[in-house]
Every structure is written in C-alpha cells, then in structure tokens.
C-alpha cells in the first residue's frame, strides 16, 4: 500500500504533499433483551490529502480510493490551499529515523467470525438466564491499517486490532456493567466480564435514596477513566495550553493534584493499544502530564511544536484539525494498595462503577457534571452495605484530584488505563428516581 501512496505523491505539484490512508474492517454484534438485534460487518477507507505551497495549506478527504479519486483529491486540496495562509506553518514532519515496533495486531482478532461472536453472546445470555437477568451489550472485533507518506521521505505503516466486550446485566430494579478490551480477542475473559456485570446487577437490587452532598468516593477504573478522558480533552493538548484555555496553562512545575496522581500518555505500553506514529506519521513519544501531582507537560504535533518551539511528541490528529494535538493512549499510574483496601479503610463513602453523560460546565476550571450509572453503592465502616439510587455530581475535577488519598495497585484498560482511586468530598448535587 505504501508503494501505491508513494506513486500518488508524484501527481502533486505542491512544495510538500502528504497522503494518509486508513482502512477499517469491523465486525460488531450488539445484543439487548438477551437477543442479537444488530449485527454488522463494515469495511471502509479514509483517504486524506494535504498539500503545502509555501505557507499555504490545503486538504481534502474521501472514502473512495483509486487513481482517478487521487487526482480529484489533489485538485480539491490545491484549490482550498489558495485560501489558507498560515505564517506559523513551517513544514510537514520530516522523514523519521524509524518507528518502534508494536505488537498490537492479532490474526485471531482480525479473523474472528460473526458465528464466533454469536457463540459468545449465546454463552453470556445463558449465564444471565441462570441468574434471572437479561442482558445488553456488544462484542466488536476491529482491524485497522494506517499508512502515511509525505514528500520529505516520511513513510509510516502499521496495523492494529482491537476487541472489546461490553456487558450490561439487567434485573428488575438494578443494573450492572463491565467491559474488557484487548488487541487480542483471546485475552478477553468473556465469562469473568459477564460475571462481574451479573454480580453488580444482583447487588444493585432495590437501591435506596440517599441525600445529595459531599461523599468520599471510591471510583472503579471505568469511573476513573471517565474523569481522565474528559480532562484530556480540556487540559493535555498544546493548543489549549498555549491559548491559556487549559487548566495546566501557566502551571507547569506547580503542584496541581495529590502526590498519588501521575497521568501520562504511552503508546508503547501494551495495555493502551497504541500506534507507533500519529496521523501525520511522526513517531509517538511518551508524555507525562501530571507527575506525583505536579504539572509536567502537554502533547504536541508538528505544527504546535514548530509554532511554540517545542519537541514534537507525535500527537497529531487527522488534518485539518482545529482542536490541536491530543493524547490517545492515556494511563494513570497504579498505586500500592490492594483495591479492596480502598473500601476497607473507608468509614463512609460511595463505590462508583461508572459515570454517564459527563459534560463540562466551565472548561478552564474543569467544572464537570454527570451521573453515576450501573452500580452505585454505599460504603459504611469499610464494607459495601447497600445499593443507592444514582446521583448527579458537579465538581471541579482538578480540585478533586488534589483530594485523592488512595490509589490501587491494580489497573484496568478502558479508554484510559486506570486504577481504583479514592477521593474525599466529591460534590453531589442531586439524585434520580432509580
């Protein structure tokens, strides 16, 4: 494929030319009410072209891919380049010395069949029935190929697979949720994931109402991941940082969180299912955003690195990208305590499985709101005593991270690789009817 893309470079008369090709083969089986109700296979491409004429830059994008398409895309990108002149633009990324090989591709995941996905769902449904529950969720197996070439000689190509199982167990008055992801379908423990959702649903039966207010919370890894994921949109990219929109703006070197909090981006950690290069072919580098509570850095792409004279950390999204660079392989560092101890040493608090519909009320302050979902429990004197109805939080999340007083040694890979964490005095402002 690289050779075909390199041939296409010769169709352009620009000073610099970049061609990006993405191909995804996805199999997805959705189930609900304990039956498969949506089941699909899709195969599609993104062909993205970027041309540079001096300081003028133009792009175009299509899902088609053939020689005639390439000519038309170059024509469109050239046309748009006449209107975009950016004095801060320096160059596309240069030819890279090499890329670290990542073993994030699995033949077994890529070739997993609809019949095999159906078998998994059938077994999950049986487990649910034994417990008097119904189930909803999905199993997806995805194989993605990415290639980038540009006229500086940069050539990058890789393949990655991802399998993900999400299971909601549903009882008459309570639900439970669990999920697991890996590049390798064989590493997903289907029965353990389903059983975890079942246990939560059974334990969530007949929740009672509690008064909103400030509670110590133990966040399971999914809930921790939800917080950090949203934080990353607002605070960890160079554009927001240099435009003074990020919480970390002008705070590098300052203590912004508890010393127990370390958050970084590392595509080379196998748990993150990362890529060795970004969407403009620059090699990815590990970046630490918060180290033992201290603000350390943000992610850059080639444009922002050139503009603000920093090292390119390889975090470009697909151009044109007005949002700036963005981390995609986030990890919160594990602590030292066994996860159960976070609960056992909590006098009164809430155990939270996951959050839902987190939204940002004030981005620079990191003021978030959102709901708990699929398993919220009261902790009393070190034990989980009863399920409670879901609550709405409203909280400045960076402030909350200064109140982290315990972090588990166990982590799980979700959208962020995250541990169980305990936060004092999280602010809940209301509740719902279930």
């Amino acid at each position: 494929m690289i050779e075909k893309l390199k041939e296409s470079l010769s169709l352009s008369d620009a000073d610099q030319t970049e061609i990006f090709l993405f191909n995804e083969q996805m199999g997805l089986t959705r189930f609900a009410n304990s039956v498969i109700h949506q089941n699909l296979i899709r195969n599609w491409n993104i062909l993205n072209t970027r041309l540079v004429y001096g300081k003028n830059i133009g792009t175009s994008r299509t899902t088609r891919f053939d020689k005639n398409t390439m000519k038309e895309q170059i024509r469109l990108a050239k046309e748009s380049s006449k209107f975009i002149k950016d004095p801060d633009f320096v160059s596309l990324p240069p030819k890279q010395p090499g890329y670290t090989e990542l073993k994030n591709w699995s033949r077994k995941t890529e070739s997993f069949t609809p019949e095999e996905r159906g078998d998994w769902v059938e077994r999950i449904v049986k487990m649910m029935k034994k417990n008097g529950l119904t189930t909803a969720g999905y199993l997806t197996t995805d194989s993605t190929a990415l290639s980038v070439v540009n006229s500086t000689g940069l050539e990058a190509s890789t393949q990655v697979t991802e399998a993900e199982l999400a299971v909601t167990a549903i009882g008459e008055s309570g639900t439970g949720y669990a999920e697991q992801r890996s590049y390798e379908i064989g590493k997903i423990d289907m029965e353990a994931t389903a059983q975890r959702a079942i246990d939560k649903a059974l334990r969530s039966k007949n929740p009672t109402e509690i008064e909103p207010g400030k509670y110590t919370v133990v966040l399971e890894p999914l809930a921790t991941s939800d917080f950090i994921h949203y934080l990353s949109f607002l605070a960890f990219g160079a554009l927001a940082f240099h435009e003074d929109r990020s919480y970390l703006s002008q705070k590098l070197g300052e203590q912004v969180a508890s010393p127990l909090v370390t958050i970084y981006d590392d595509p080379y950690d196998h748990r993150a299912i990362g890529l060795p290069f970004d969407f403009e072919g620059a090699a990815k580098k590990r970046v630490t955003f918060i180290e033992e509570g201290m603000a350390k850095g943000v992610a850059y792409d080639s444009y922002s690195a050139n503009r603000w004279k920093k090292e390119n950390t390889g975090h470009a999204l697909l151009p044109p990208n007005p949002h700036g660079p963005f981390p995609t392989d986030l990890i919160m560092k594990a602590g030292t305590l066994p996860k159960d101890e976070l609960i056992q040493s909590c006098k009164k608090g809430l155990l939270i499985t996951r959050f839902w519909y987190i939204r940002v009320l004030s981005p620079k302050e990191t003021l978030f709101t959102g709901m708990t979902r699929d398993g919220t429990f009261l902790i009393e004197n070190g034990e989980i005593t009863r399920p409670v109805k879901n609550l709405r939080f409203q909280e400045k999340v960076m402030d909350a991270l200064t109140r982290v007083d315990a972090v588990s040694k166990e982590v799980e890979a979700h959208s962020v690789v995250a541990p169980w964490i305990r936060i004092r005095d999280l602010n809940f402002i209301g509740g719902t009817e279930y």
Binding site: L28, I36, N39, W44, G58, E115, Y357, R359, G370
Partner: protein
C-alpha cells in the same frame, strides 16, 4: 439496500485567519437483510457488481449468525412499495457560492468580534452538506432523495484571572437548516458579532448564578435542547424497549405510561414532524422506506406517542411512523428524532419577561447532561440575567438549571408565541454503537417554568 453519497464542506476562521477548509466526500452502500427471522448488515465503499453481491451475501451470513441468540423471529409492520423522489427545496445551492465569498463573510464577522477589547479567541464557522440517498427494498421500493443543509455560528471567548467565558451567535452549536445559502444571508452574522463579543467580556465580571428555587425563562435555543433531551430521546421506542440499554440507556416513558402519564402542564403540545419545511429532521422517506409524518408525542401535557420503526411499531400501533435513519451508508438505521417541536403559545419573549415579577432569564445553550432514563438533567446556559419587576436586572455567569425532567415540564406556565418560535437545527445528536451522529430539528419558543432549581451547591 442504501447507496449514500455525501459532500460536506466546513469552513473556520479564527483569530484573523482562515484556520480550516475541510472538504469531505463519503460514498458507499449498505445491505440490511432478514434471514430466518434475524437481522444482518454489511457495507462497503466499493460500488461494483461483484462487491455488491459479496456484501449482500455477507449480510445474509451475519443474519444467520444472529440466530444464535434469538427468541422469536423479527416481524415488521406493513410497508407499501414506494417509487418516488424527494429533494430539499432551496433557493441558492451553497456549493455554488464561491469559497471566497463565504470566507469573506466569516472574516468580516470574526473581525467585528475581535475589535472588542478583552476578547481572547474569536471564531466564525460555516458548514454545508449535500446528501444523495438511493434506497431499494424487497418490498418494491425504489426511492431517491437529495437532502441539503447549511449552518453557521460565531464564538467569542474571553479570559481573565483564570476565568473563561464563551458567548456565541446564533447558538453555541450554531443554527443549521435544510436551506440553501439563503439561511446564511438571513442570519445577519455581522449585525450580531460585536454584541456576542461584548457579552463574553461582560460575563467575566458578572455575578455567579445563585443556588435557589426560582421562576425561570428559557430562550428558544435552550428550550430546544431541553426538548431534545427530555422529550426526544425518551420517546424513542427502541430505547423504551431496551435495545439501547448498554449505552444510550432506556426511558422512564414506559409502555404503560402512554396515554396515562401527565408529562407536562396542559398547555404543552409537542409533535414529531418530519414534514415541516427547513427542518434538519425533514425528509421524504426514512431509511426503511416509510413516508415522513407528523404526530403528537405530548398532547395537552399528556404523554401520548413514540417515535417508531417497522420492527418496534407493532408493540403500540399498526404502522411505523417513519423515524429510522442511519448517519451514513456504513451504519444501520436506528430510530432517530425528526423535528421534535413544541407548538407555539402566545406572547413574545419580551412579554414573558415583562410579566415576570421575580426570576431569571437564561439564554444560549452551552452544555447539557441527563441520566440514562432521561429524568435528572443539568442544563448549562451561556448567560443569564436576574429579572426584577418585569425587567432584566444584573447578569449572571455559569448558570445551571437542574431537576427531574417531567416535574419541570409540569411547572411550565407560559409557552411563547410564533414571533420568537425558531426551528433549530441540531446536527450532532449521538446514539448507537458504534456511535452515529444524526441531524435533527427542534422547533421551540421561549418558555417559563415556575419555581424550579437553578445554580448548584458547591
């Protein structure tokens, strides 16, 4: 089978320069099948005879695999074969307007915002799209449609001492409609640019929104998003029947409540109207070949109707009301909102304010969150003002409005009239796995709620 071709153009001007011209072409086809009573779907970007046959066979194979977890065979509400066409009516094709002209307008509006002292970031954006769809089914339908839309927005961001405030026009997500370039002309960006920039700066020194019970007036943009979250989503029958339980959630508007549940005050009339001109949820036929329709979801405050599909409709009535749409050729159609409209009452926004002795007025949508059964919500407007003796008093920043959705609707005591009724376009409604982003519409006037909770305890 659906073949879909979409052209999209997004323009962004930021801080005095053209930041982005994004030209996107999306083309391919999808085949949805029922084999042995179970669903299958496959899609491909390569529209060649051999590939179509292969994709159809793959779809059948996927359907057969679905039988591994099946309780009963899929049964669809009746549909008649349709052979017809639909085109969005418009005056000026936005793709026929030169890039230079469009960018000139955005640059001019952005420059006016930038003139205002204290503004840190200024942005002006324009989006246009044209979608061609060809639908054929074994019921005998052959339908082609061309849907066109445009939209635009201005955003001014002001920052001081760690505070950041954004003000937008016509709304933070813009205004979009199934119209041609005439929409852009009608919105008069340059007439509103300085005002929104000035308000962004003024918000920095505004008082914080207090936490209290209060009478509350929402402008039509906020009413629209409140309708979206508290009426549109919970009346999707697939959610009600549990098929989105893993992600988007279910609904408190369960089957037993239809025709029995006083959802809102008796003045409230809400319809789902896929036939109204210029709506983003307006079309000729849905992605199952069912004709666009207009029907009540809430009548005299009573919850009476659902958005349905051919598969779900038989649970409540004989026929689908035509709300199945997919966001592209590569995804399955789902039940989606069309244009969910609160029908107008009487009186302008100014009259509502003038007749409110004490309370708050909130304007401009910033953010919203709601639980997975659509009960507890939090609505975050851009700006608010206290109202005292029928007049706007001081400005408040970071306003928040929370509550239980149906209880708040029951407290609605004034629905504004046609003069301030706007059919808003919402181009970014998310649902499904993998997530699909749909264009929907909401017609809304300003409304007033009595004694609701604003602000939040910190």
């Amino acid at each position: 089978m659906r073949i879909v071709e979409e052209m999209k153009e997004t323009l962004l001007v930021k801080n005095g320069k053209v930041e982005m011209i994004e030209l996107t072409e999306d083309f391919g086809f999808g085949v949805r099948t029922i084999v042995g009573g179970a669903w299958g779907f496959a899609s491909s970007a390569e529209l060649k005879r051999e590939q179509v046959e292969k994709t159809a066979q793959l779809s059948c194979r996927v359907a057969k695999a679905s039988r591994k977890a099946m309780e009963k065979e899929v049964s669809l509400a009746a549909s008649r074969g349709i052979v017809d066409s639909y085109r969005t009516p418009y005056e000026t094709d936005p793709f026929g307007v030169s890039l230079a002209k469009k960018l000139e307008l955005l640059m001019e509006a952005e420059k006016l915002m930038r003139k205002v002292k204290g503004v840190a970031i200024t942005e002006a954006e324009m989006l246009t799209w044209k979608t061609k769809k060809w639908f054929a089914s074994t019921d005998g339908s052959m339908i082609d449609q061309e849907l066109l839309g445009t939209g635009t927005q201005l955003r001014a961001t002001a920052m001081k001492n760690g505070d950041m405030q954004v003000r937008s026009y016509p709304n933070l997500q813009g205004q979009y409609a199934a119209k041609g370039y005439e929409l852009i002309d009608s919105l008069k960006l340059t007439d509103n640019a300085e005002r929104v920039a000035e308000e962004a700066v003024a918000l920095l020194s505004a008082k914080p929104c207090p936490h209290q019970q209060s009478n509350l007036i929402l402008d039509s943009a906020l009413t629209a998003i409140y309708i979206h979250e508290s009426v549109g989503h919970p009346t999707e029958l697939d959610r009600v029947l549990g098929t989105e339980a893993n992600f988007a959630g279910t609904s408190h508007l369960t089957l037993d409540k239809r025709g029995q549940f006083q959802f809102a005050s008796p003045e409230v009339q809400i319809v789902a109207d896929a036939t109204i001109p210029t709506g983003l949820g307006t079309f000729g036929w849905d992605d199952e070949g069912i004709e666009a329709s207009n029907f009540h979801l809430v009548k005299d405050g009573m919850f009476v109707g659902y958005l349905t599909s051919r598969e779900t409709a038989p649970v409540v009535e004989a026929r689908s009301n035509g709300t199945m749409r997919a966001d592209s050729w590569k995804n399955l159609p789902l039940i989606r909102m069309t244009n969910i409209n609160l029908l107008p009452g009487k009186g302008s926004l100014d009259e509502i304010v003038a007749n409110t002795d004490e309370g708050f007025y909130f304007e401009g949508f910033k953010t919203v969150s709601i639980d997975d059964k659509r009960l507890n919500f939090s609505l975050g407007p851009e700006i608010g003002w206290a109202i005292k003796k029928g007049k706007r008093d001081y400005m408040v920043k970071n306003p928040v409005f929370t509550g239980i959705s149906y209880k708040v609707w029951r407290s609605c005591d004034w629905i504004g009239g046609e003069e301030d009724w706007v059919l808003w376009g919402e181009p970014y409604c998310g649902k499904g796995e993998p997530i699909q982003v749909m264009r929907v519409g909401h017609g809304a006037p300003p409304v007033r709620f009595k004694n609701v909770l604003i602000g939040a305890k910190s």
